[in-house]
Subunit: 433 residues, 2 copies
């Protein structure tokens, strides 16, 4: 094991799981934190609110401000000590958040303090932001979201890619995230493998989706396709990706968007992040029918969601291309090979071809993200909050049908409009259970 | 800069360029070395023989045996101190050689001693081996070569890939080579960039190839193709590649093959190594006409070379596939997704598809390796020893014509036979200068 890969892998000396009293003393001893909170430490309110699967999250409020304080546990919170998970993820999350803060300031929480030994990060408290997925379940539209998320993805991905970095800087950056493999392994198993085979942790809306689950497990074309995606995830170090960019990792208000929780970050395929956003919007679209109280009630919302899918891809592509045209300081596609007007035109055509390849990756990964949320371990409230199981299964079956086509017939989707058209066509499809 | 990437990057304290006296004292103080050489140190013969571009190489002989001792210089030997090059390359070379020794024992020189501070490695002396390229220029055939080189490539590449390694081990291995970027940069510049633009270090057989050089610099389809290959080299961390696997890095006798000089090693695309071997055989084929004293004199040799091109690919593919079938302990393509007879058949079909993609990579990289040897900085004696420049240019033009087609119309070559057929068809083509 190399030094870098091992960085923070062992439990650092000084680490302890903080209770409220300990946290209060620790924060009070940190001037940057104490100043931001204001007032005497004994008056700070501290509430543990972590509803994620992995960590402790405290909301701390003082007389002049509030903070969110996240501490990694040496195991998966949801499961307990039987599923250990290295604290080093706090190190990688902090590293990724620093990168994102530099490249997309305002679109991630500002970091106030990081304590490597405690695997603890104190961040800007996001108020009155809510988890975007909750808003989508409620049928809320977010008019500023497209602009924000496309800026976030275009900038964080472009500037960590070979289009912006020298090969030397990029190799060093890859190495600095190589130790985050325990988190990558979760993705490799839960997204690219388990839903396609018998696995103890799989679950789905039974008995309605039993036959579909069996189809997924028997569908060898799908298995080849998902294995190719997994291979890309394992070996294509294209850019520093967030690695878990679903709508549960995004906090929103009508005017603000903040991407949180980049603990799965590493150098991987860009399409994985873009696909995650597309997948979660598509799931919000298919789940919507399950949340309507009267028929057609959420039509405007659904229209907004599909429009957002269109615009997420087109906006991302437009911004990424603009960066490539103006800030291509990396070692890939050297400008000197494309001189003059003819050269510029040929490079521009290649940029479009590059984006077309990235689009194929994105919809493939999107499909994998959908299938894992319906047949794997971790489900999402978009579907889970549909109380009527048969109705939920109907919504899920539509999403799975789209996902299966996206993954196996990827090449037949040459535009994002083809994807949203296929989704729209499935909106009223009635699966036979 | 991460710790791992920086490993050995600075000049280690204790480093000095060794002269004969210093080397003798240093080796005498190393029991493993002294034992192998035998007899009193003052009686050892020491000769500096380095004819490569980068390092000092000493042949040391004692009463019971000999060693090759390689010391890295802090600059490119060929150019001098004006072109600095980190000593850390000796560290990476030692790391790669250790990997190769483990996986392909007998096909690389055995390591007797490594001194990190001196950037020095003492290895088995290869006698009576000669540099394969010299043998090919002389028209010598090597009947054991195909079996050896295909074993070397299949085993070193397969066992460092996602097909054999866990994702965690592979990420750590990638990180451990990330610091070797100065050597990678040489490849990035000299192979994937400079030959396609005006660059001070470019040279070619002028004036005969002036027009072809200008064509290469103006050929935007070629520039797109080589830029895609460069991007793969920058971002596809498929396996630990040798990184410089030409026939000048291979020492041979009629019965033995030893791959030397893996200082360019890093995690990159497998096709780069396979392509290097194919390219250098194809160049030996095209150069052969320039070495014949009577017409047809080297026909048997040329037939052997093209047959070897065929067999290098087919043998490599066969051995790589056999390893995949029997030793697939890696995280890619999990067997559990391909159960039963139908699953096994589908996985086998996907293995063939994987090899077809790798073949495309290999011939693309082969093309890049040919073009750089004819228009870039580093040429090879296959062509350079053809004294008649017009004759040399004719041979080179045939190779370039094949390379251009291989790189731009890669997809039209679906088998290695198609490549050797195209080469054979160009054997008597007379370019117009």
């Amino acid at each position: 094991m190399t030094t870098s890969a091992a960085a923070g892998q062992a439990t650092p000396s000084g680490y302890r799981i903080l209770n409220e009293t300990d946290l209060r003393l620790t924060l009070a001893a940190t001037p940057a934190v104490a100043d931001q909170l204001g007032g005497p430490a004994e008056r700070w309110s501290i509430t543990e609110v972590g509803d994620g699967n992995l960590n402790l999250v405290f909301i701390v409020k003082g007389s002049s401000g509030g903070l969110a304080v996240k501490q990694a546990l040496p195991y998966v919170r949801l499961v307990g000590e039987s599923w250990p998970l290295p604290l080093s993820r706090a190190h990688y999350e902090h590293l990724a958040l620093t990168h994102q803060n530099r490249l997309a300031p305002g679109l991630v929480p500002a970091i106030v303090h990081h304590d490597a030994a405690l695997a603890l990060t104190a961040m800007e408290l996001l108020e009155p932001h809510i988890i975007m997925r909750k808003g989508l379940v409620a049928g809320t539209t977010y008019p500023a979201f497209v602009d924000h998320i496309t800026t976030f993805m275009a900038r964080t991905l472009f500037f960590s890619s070979d289009l912006a970095l020298s090969a030397a800087s990029k190799k060093e950056a890859i190495a600095s995230f190589a130790g985050n493999h325990a988190l990558c392994k979760i993705t490799e198993d839960l997204i690219f493998t388990d839903p396609y085979r018998i696995a103890e942790q799989n679950r789905w809306t039974a008995p309605w989706l039993d036959a579909t689950a069996a189809d997924i497990r028997a569908d060898l074309d799908l298995h080849v396709a998902v294995s190719r995606l997994k291979l890309k995830f394992l070996s294509n170090a294209e850019a520093l990706i967030h690695g878990d960019l679903h709508t549960g990792s995004i906090m929103v208000t009508e005017t603000e968007t903040k991407v949180i929780d980049p603990e799965f970050a590493f150098y991987g395929p860009m399409g994985f992040d873009v696909g995650a956003v597309l997948a979660n919007l598509l799931m919000a679209y298919f789940a919507s029918a399950g949340h309507e109280r009267t028929q057609g009630e959420r039509e405007a919302f659904e229209g907004w969601v599909l429009g957002t899918v269109d615009q997420v891809w087109s906006g991302f592509a437009r911004k990424f291309l603009a960066l490539w045209r103006s800030e291509a300081t990396g070692d890939a596609y050297p400008l000197s090979l494309f001189p003059g007007e003819t050269g510029a035109a040929r490079l521009e055509a290649e940029r479009q071809a590059y984006m077309a390849r990235l689009f194929q990756d994105a919809i493939g990964f999107a499909a994998a993200k959908i299938i894992r949320r319906i047949f794997g371990l971790a489900h999402n409230i978009d579907f889970e909050l549909i109380a009527d199981e048969s109705r939920r299964a109907t919504c899920e079956a539509r999403a799975v049908r789209l996902a299966r086509t996206l993954m196996v017939e990827t090449a037949s989707f040459t535009s994002i409009e083809a994807v949203t058209r296929a989704a729209r066509e499935l909106r009223h499809w009635q699966p036979e259970f």
